[in-house]
Symmetry: C2
DNA sequence: CATAAGCGTGATATAACATAACAGCCTCGG
DNA sequence: CCGAGGCTGTTATGTTATATCACGCTTATG
């Protein structure tokens, strides 16, 4: 699971440290959001033993656009694309925690940033849409 | 103007418990986001002494639409409108923490919900736009 | 009155999430 | 040799949130 030379193309060169690779590998294997401490539990085998080590790697991976944080759940997930430019959104099933990454078009991004009031110059967007996925819809009642 | 009939007009009847009133008052006085523990510090005078008391009131107030949670900061803020229907967004200055509540038009709401993939039926939107306000722009460099 | 149900609250304890601060070990360039 | 910088390890602590049980008050009922 060494992602050190992935395919070249859209994405900037990764250049990951050993710890970053381990943690990214863990998140990619899971394919779903994990809390920092859940990650820690899964990489103890790999010699990572303390929270700061995990958070350091996660923060570095987020700067590279390879991991995103789901604010509404305090959880982290690998970017479905390898890496992206920071303009993205998520749809999350409230019942099973399934996450779908939404790729925002240029137009979407512009419209979103345009919602900011004149007094604040927008830089970054956090957009998370919660709902119910196909599988969970039949067995759940609407709470809102 | 006590229209306790149905929820006529924009705002449903408040009917707050004493603790809810104290905590909403605290947030309204502040006019800015506060962490649950910052709120706790400010209402100790009023006889509230433990975290669960604060969280209980905050959760009730959020259900009523009178308080919102800023996911990206783990903070709470009084609704600028008294109460609203849950379709709103925030613009936040990353330097001074100033928050502006953005009221989404019907069209904005529809577009946002439309971003959800087919496999997840959207129910709720969390949109937070971080940037730099007029006052802070001159003295801050862009980090991203 | 007695009693039970329901609700808001008080209080203890602990869980879950995150970072500050410092120390060790490399490698690189002088 | 020596210092700078990058990455990691480690200890300790700070911050955010909830589970659980107990208490007192009001109300409905017999």
């Amino acid at each position: 699971m060494n992602a050190t030379h992935h395919h070249s193309g859209k994405h900037p060169a990764p250049k990951l440290s050993p710890n970053q690779s381990k943690i990214l590998g863990c998140l990619r294997e899971a394919g779903e959001p994990m809390s920092a401490y859940a990650i820690l539990d899964h990489v103890r085998n790999d010699g990572i033993a303390h929270p700061p080590t995990v958070y350091r790697a996660l923060n570095d991976l987020m700067k590279k656009g390879m991991v995103h944080r789901l604010e509404s759940r305090s959880a982290f997930i690998a970017c479905g694309d390898g890496a992206c430019d920071g303009r993205f959104a998520f749809a999350i099933c409230r019942a099973c925690d399934k996450v779908v990454e939404i790729h925002l078009s240029k137009g979407d991004q512009t419209r979103l940033l345009g919602l900011a009031p004149a007094e604040i110059v927008p830089e970054q967007v956090t957009l998370e849409i919660t709902g119910l996925c196909e599988a969970c819809a039949p067995v759940q009642a609407a709470p809102v």
